[in-house]
């Protein structure tokens, strides 16, 4: 580390050039960090999809309902471990931009199929004892300051009550957390029995079923059996693994992720050129000084490391500040205030970012460094 001052002193040589290079590296890594959080947000459902979960929906489309009675048939079928159902409520809390999902479910069944939803036992009991009770995820609770005991009014244009009133009131009896960082904790769940007996339309309808198979290898077979069973009935079904179901939603989003990766690759390529150019100029300008260092007794390899050290320091300053800034901005939370219930800087992207910092430093410095290594003292001193 005794050479640090020597390496660092070269950054002061052309202060503006160094500053601009560092800034462009900073921006690239900021972009990298922030986009990786957005990518997670867009693909969160896909990432947490569980291979042993099947989703059964109406064959025509997700908005067509299925009879509740199907549940009894499905539950009896071979390979089905647990079964639950959910329905899209589509309610609005105060104003449309406050979007978060709400779904009527059966408490015990739902939690059995979704073990990643963590609800304390006493809150589950309270939910089972309160017909108008609802539980809400941590993200939404924090966002609107919901607390246990609050009464939350939700307007549902799709599901008016029998008397025509569109406003439903739920008593918050629990707040759940996600077992994993990627678990979506934005939905509000309320009781299906309350929903079923209160809304205006026909009884006994659900949006879709979700089941857990006894063995992930059986998933395809079970799906086929279910669809065969309801073929030619008035509501035919389409069963698929949860991943595929979520992916159907996320298909366009997947394309967006690919575009993001393409953009980031171009950004990094540009940054590599910028940083490489800075290093090449910097070495070119002090050919003579490098020759003097060698005459003093610095070895060829030593000068190689001096130049690589310099480019690595430039990359590290810009890259770490960029990643740090991205981390700060991501920690500040979902920029859309609701559209991205899952929004964080994934650890593997942080590690990838750090690796990129090192790789950029080496890649930008390697050619000038080799040039410095090969420099012949006598020739360089003549110039």
């Amino acid at each position: 580390m005794r050479f640090l001052f020597l390496i660092a002193s070269n950054l002061k040589r052309k202060k503006l050039r160094t500053l601009l290079t560092i800034l462009s590296i900073l921006v690239a890594f900021l972009l990298f960090g922030y986009l990786s959080a957005i990518r997670v947000a867009l693909s969160s459902g896909v990432d947490v999809a569980d291979a042993d979960r099947l989703v059964i929906r109406h064959k025509v489309s997700i908005i067509q309902l299925l009879p509740e009675s199907y549940g009894r048939d499905i539950a009896r079928m071979e390979g089905v471990a647990q079964l639950t159902h959910a329905t899209w409520f589509g309610g609005i809390y105060q104003e449309p931009k406050n979007f978060f999902p709400q779904m009527p479910v059966h408490p015990d069944d739902y939690l059995a199929v979704y073990p990643e939803v963590l609800l304390p036992d006493d809150q589950l009991q309270a939910w089972k004892n309160t017909k108008t009770g609802a539980i809400v995820g941590r993200t939404t609770a924090d966002r609107f300051g919901f607390e246990i005991g609050d009464r939350v009014p939700i307007l549902s244009p799709i599901w008016p009550q029998k008397d025509g009133n569109q406003t439903w009131e739920f008593d918050i009896v629990g707040i759940y957390d996600g077992a994993e960082q990627g678990t979506d904790t934005s939905p509000l769940f309320f009781r299906y029995d309350y929903f079923d007996e209160t809304h205006m339309g026909d009884r006994g309808q659900v949006g879709w079923y979700v089941l857990r198979v006894t063995d992930a290898d059986l998933a395809t077979q079970v799906a086929e059996a279910i669809d065969a069973n309801f073929a030619n009935s008035f509501a035919e079904t389409k069963s698929e693994p949860e991943g595929a179901f979520v992916q159907a939603f996320a298909k366009q989003i997947g394309n967006i992720a690919a575009i993001m990766i393409a953009i980031l690759s171009m950004v990094f390529f540009t940054i590599l050129l910028v940083a490489g150019n800075t290093m090449a100029q910097s070495v070119h300008e002090r050919t003579r000084e490098l020759a003097v260092l060698k005459s003093i007794g610095f070895t060829d390899r030593g000068t190689l490391f001096l130049v690589l050290g310099e480019s690595t320091i430039i990359s590290a300053i810009g890259g770490l500040m960029g990643l740090g800034l991205a981390w700060l901005m991501i920690s500040a939370g979902d920029p859309t205030k609701g559209a991205f219930p899952v929004f964080y800087f994934p650890e593997k992207d942080i590690v990838l970012g750090l690796l990129l910092v090192g790789a950029l430093g080496l890649a930008a410095g390697i050619f000038p460094a080799l040039q410095a290594k090969q420099l012949r003292i006598a020739d360089a001193l003549r110039r």
Partner: protein, 245 residues
């Protein structure tokens, strides 16, 4: 990062000058350069012996090969033929890496245009050769202070090269050359870029280093007035060395 340092022992303590002992011995040196397809023979069957403690001046017309010869002696370049012995070590056959280490321990270079790092202070410039030794920071600073004191620049430690006069910059260059206490100083036109007064001061300094610190000095110069300070002057012409008339 240890690789930057060619492993080096402490600088050798000055040994008593023994005028009979040969420090530098060049035998049958040829040096040719290729320029395209053309070969230029710069040095031809050149022999040179320099006793320890001598102050030798090298003169000769421009392009006669003075710098080339100095580079060979200092291990910055290799002869096409011949042998170079310094202090009974043959240096022309050392690997690049070993040669670098040898330079760090045994030679100090002084250049016409000082060749200081503009981004480093005088003290940091002088410290550079010590980075290649095992000395810790405190000892390095002590040696730097001593070297700057010898050249009379104790009051300019924190100055950058651009804040110093030409003469002062050359003193920093000399301090850098002597800070590891090498036995041999190689100076290529050290006063070539200085006015008479500053040049004389530099020559006084070199003479003092030769007489009081036992440095063997080889100085290339165009200036007969400067050459007068040396104990011997040789002329390089047509690839050979000739005694002064």
């Amino acid at each position: 990062m240890n690789d930057i340092a060619s492993p080096s022992a402490e600088p050798a303590s000055p040994e008593p000058a023994d005028s009979a002992e040969t420090l530098l011995d060049l035998r049958g040196i040829d040096k040719t350069f290729k320029r395209g397809s053309e070969e230029i023979q710069v040095l031809q069957k050149l022999d040179l012996q320099v006793p320890r403690g001598e102050f030798l001046a090298l003169m000769g017309p421009s392009g006669s090969g003075k710098s080339t010869l100095l580079n060979l002696i200092g291990g910055l370049d290799r002869p096409s033929h011949g042998e170079i012995h310094v202090d009974n070590h043959r240096i022309d056959r050392l690997s690049d890496r070993k040669l670098a280490t040898w330079r760090a321990r045994n030679v100090g270079f002084v250049f016409q245009f000082y060749n200081l790092m503009p981004v480093l202070t005088a003290a940091r410039n002088v410290e550079l050769p010590l980075l290649l030794t095992r000395m810790n920071g405190a000892r390095r600073r002590k040696h730097v202070a001593t070297a700057l004191d010898v050249v009379g620049l104790s009051h300019r430690v924190k100055h950058y090269p651009r804040q110093l006069s030409g003469g002062e910059q050359q003193r920093v260059g000399i301090a850098r050359a002597i800070v590891t206490d090498p036995q041999l100083l190689l100076c290529d036109e050290p006063t070539g870029d200085l006015d008479r007064k500053s040049g004389d001061e530099i020559l006084d300094l070199l003479q003092a280093l030769n007489q009081h610190h036992g440095k063997t000095i080889i100085m290339v110069t165009h200036d007969p007035h400067a050459a007068e300070r040396a104990s011997r002057t040789l002329h390089l012409d047509k690839g050979r060395l000739n005694r002064e008339d």
